[in-house]
Amino acid sequence: MKSDHQTQASSDGPIVELRGVNKHYGALHVLNDINLQVTKGEVVVILGPSGSGKSTLCRAINRLETIDDGTITIDGKVLPEEGKALAMLRADVGMVFQSFNLFAHKTILENVTLGPIKVKGMKKAEADKVAMKLLERVGVANQAGKLPAQLSGGQQQRVAIARALAMRPKVMLFDEPTSALDPEMINEVLDTMVGLAKEGMTMLVVTHEMGFARKAADRVIFMADGQIVEQATPDEFFTNPKSARAKDFLGKLITNH
């Protein structure tokens, strides 16, 4: 099963592909015929006003949200509905949440090693080694023995990134990773993310941080009312938005900041 998994990891096809994805919350059409491809190594930033469906889209990709119709494939495999197959595919998709969601009863080190040990069957000693390297990389190795509540928000979010990376994911999803942070902690998380992007990690990032989009994105996707309204390179999008909705959105940002 596992080796089969790896041989199928083709590098030519898109890592994430959504085709005709729809989702409703009652009368609200939160995802309206979404078509999207993310290729290997690409950094895609999703922008849009709140309620536009961008978080739902991000969460649908590892099925934390179900969809009504359409297909989502991860590295050529259709996302299963549930069970072991879904769990296995999720292991290949790293997820970073707005509210960090570190396991509150486990130490920082245990947070990072839990997945490798329990999902991938890695030996504890090896998992510890890998985890310490990752914690070092995100700059919190000296906190390894502490509990999440003893760390600042920025540190917790960097641990969350390390926890996701420990699974060696094919793609990383970030669902507003800096929205719950104090302003002075936003940059330490964004810097970590920029570093990841530079190393060639495939990333899909829902954010309000325009600076990150300019600096690290290969492509910006603008969503409104559950639809993808516009796609462009960051340069093109910020200097010359085409749709009225995007112009309106960017205009409000400028007046607000």
Partner: protein, 226 residues
């Protein structure tokens, strides 16, 4: 006072023996109902509808049936009609049937106490567990339940305390426990009626009060910092 002392001369050994039966009932019923309650709680939060339905039905049936009736059912129906023999020893058989009755009843309460603990665990914990590839059971075992138990110490302590006192209902299941002996003592030593009550009540207080203190201490010590 002399009358009371002579009561102890006469019944002392049986008082201790009977109360020991209550403590043994408590111990075994606590172990079994805690395990059973945990399994029921897992069923009630599981993604499988038929397991959820079973857990809900179990809790509603046994939480809403008086314990005395469950105990009487064990002796009069399971033993009396269906000749249930767990042990060949007559008294031990009643004792074991009483343990089953107490366990079945309190499992429903432990299940609900644990479920209240599950509600103290933010949804994001389960989402993060699923996101790293854990399926339902490992996520429950490694992430949700360890936090749920810590959040449910006070309600679980309440169930344990209720269980300790409810062991007196084993009287309805023909077990020689302390409330049965109390009835006998009052019958034969009516002069000591009040002190007999007080003695038996105090024996429970001596057990229950430290447990209450322990529960409060544990709930603080093990609280999950968020």
């Amino acid at each position: 006072m002399e009358g009371y002392l002579s009561l102890w001369d006469e019944y002392g050994a049986r008082i201790m023996e009977s109360f020991w039966a209550n403590l043994q009932l408590t111990f075994w019923a606590f172990l079994i109902s805690l395990v059973l309650g945990t399994l029921l709680a897992i069923m009630r939060i599981s993604p499988i509808p038929s397991l959820r339905a079973f857990g809900t039905a179990y809790v509603n049936i046994f939480r809403n049936t008086p314990l005395t009736i469950i105990m009487a059912f064990g002796v009069l129906v399971l033993f009396g009609v269906f000749k249930l023999q767990i042990s060949s020893d007559f008294n031990l058989n009643f004792f074991q049937i009483a343990i089953i009755g107490l366990s079945i009843y309190h499992a429903a309460f432990f299940c609900e106490a644990i479920r209240s603990g599950v509600n103290t665990v933010p949804l994001g914990q389960a989402e993060a567990a699923r996101a790293i590839g854990l399926s339902f059971l490992p996520a429950a075992q490694l992430v949700i339940l360890p936090q749920a138990f810590r959040g449910a110490i006070v309600p679980m302590g309440n169930v344990l305390i209720a269980l300790i006192k409810n062991t007196t209902v084993a009287l309805a299941g023909s077990v020689a426990e302390i409330s049965g002996l109390m009835k006998t003592m009052i019958e034969f030593r009516a002069d000591q009626g009040f002190l007999i009550f007080l003695t038996v009540a105090l024996m429970f207080v001596v057990i229950v009060v430290p447990i209450g203190l322990l529960v409060t201490w544990l709930s603080k010590k093990l609280a999950v910092a968020r």
